[in-house]
Symmetry: C2
Subunit: 205 residues, 2 copies
DNA sequence: GCAATTTTTGACCGTTTGGACAAACGTTAA
DNA sequence: TTAACGTTTGTCCAAACGGTCAAAAATTGC
């Protein structure tokens, strides 16, 4: 209905600059949230002037929307990879590993996403109710089958998936708290490894 | 050092109005975050004019700080109640229940807290590194003892606690997503009950 | 009833912010 | 050389915002 009829043709510079702005915006937005970030901050982080930035994105909203929509793909990839034909334990373990790696390697993306959901998901609610729900329902069915076959401990598959999301993303979104509680000693980079091992035990063991 | 030397004496009206403002501010802050909220919005929600509100709180920051510090008490209470002398299974189950009830009954508080942590906990970092860390270390030791005695499945007690936080708070903080994924049918109020049962099975079963 | 005190408000101010715009600058190719 | 096109910037504006202030209104204590 209201999709962009034509994909705008972009020059090399436009592609590069939009990419550069996206990176800068991710940095800023993930730290201060949408309302807490200013176009000037993003422009500074991207090393350009505000009007110049607005030459590439028509407004602040569009920068944010572009970012979060691009992010959604990356975000769902690990769940997509879960293979019904594989071994349940291995599949779950891999899923947890991948999600944990994302928390470790892309904490800004995780926080950006968390922020959007916390505010009520104003920009991506349709995606959650559509694409995401479909994917989760599909994978929940897979997990459910595994449970019926006695290859995985029985429980509610939807809440099972929620629990994996919650626990893995916790290490990105609540990182400050995790580090504060673990204290200097154990809050080195090893904490992600420890957490991953713990979660495997929790969800599989 | 820099503590308020004297607790300011407050009239009945001051106590009532500060309470009223707190309630309004919780509503607004939990929806839009600190920077996304305006004093006018809070004043409106409290049914008073902006200057009037600023007669009770010297600025926006003070409203927020008051809220979040008051919240911390409530937030830690359930963990405080965990009793080393009790039965491990019962204690863990009660803890999960209480945390789940808080997500159901005080989602605004949960989101306010999540927001603060996401932004790097600028106002409560000392509390996290002090009071919270001490409490968690203490309870982790209790859990650890239970595990050593073979009364609870062995795992890392700190990550065990994190996992309970993450999963229970998920149902408040990511409520929109949970409801979107569960869809109309199963996203009624029963979802908290379902989740609580699932989590008991996960952490105890 | 009245003076002292507390509470409330309208008007106001300086700053920040998102965004517009036209003019300048740079690049390319006929 | 010059026309065409893409890129960059300085300047500007209106709205939103946090916060002040003096004065009016309400309440309280005697």
């Amino acid at each position: 209905m209201d999709k962009p009829a034509v994909r705008p043709k972009r020059t090399r510079i436009q592609r590069e600059k939009r990419e550069l702005i996206g990176e800068a915006a991710l940095e800023v937005f993930s730290q201060h949230g949408f309302r807490g970030s200013t176009i000037d901050q993003i422009a500074d982080a991207a090393g350009m002037s505000k009007p110049n930035l607005l030459y590439y994105f028509k407004n602040k909203e569009e920068i944010f929307a572009t970012l979060i929509h691009r992010l959604m793909e990356t975000w769902l990839a690990p769940l997509r990879e879960m293979d019904a034909a594989g071994d349940p334990q291995t599949e779950i373990r891999s899923y947890i590993r991948r999600k944990m790696e994302m928390s470790r390697d892309f904490p800004r993306e995780s926080r950006l996403f968390a922020n959007e959901i916390l505010q009520g998901a104003p920009r991506i609610l349709p995606l959650l109710e559509g694409e995401l729900k479909e994917l989760v329902d599909e994978k929940a069915a897979v997990i459910s089958a595994w449970m019926r076959e006695g290859r995985l401990k029985k429980s509610d598959p939807h809440h099972f998936i929620f629990a994996i999301w919650a626990t893995t993303q916790h290490y990105a979104d609540f990182d400050v708290q995790v580090r504060a509680v673990l204290g200097g000693k154990r809050s080195g980079e090893g904490r992600f490894e420890d957490a991953a091992r713990f979660l495997e035990g929790l969800f599989i063991g």
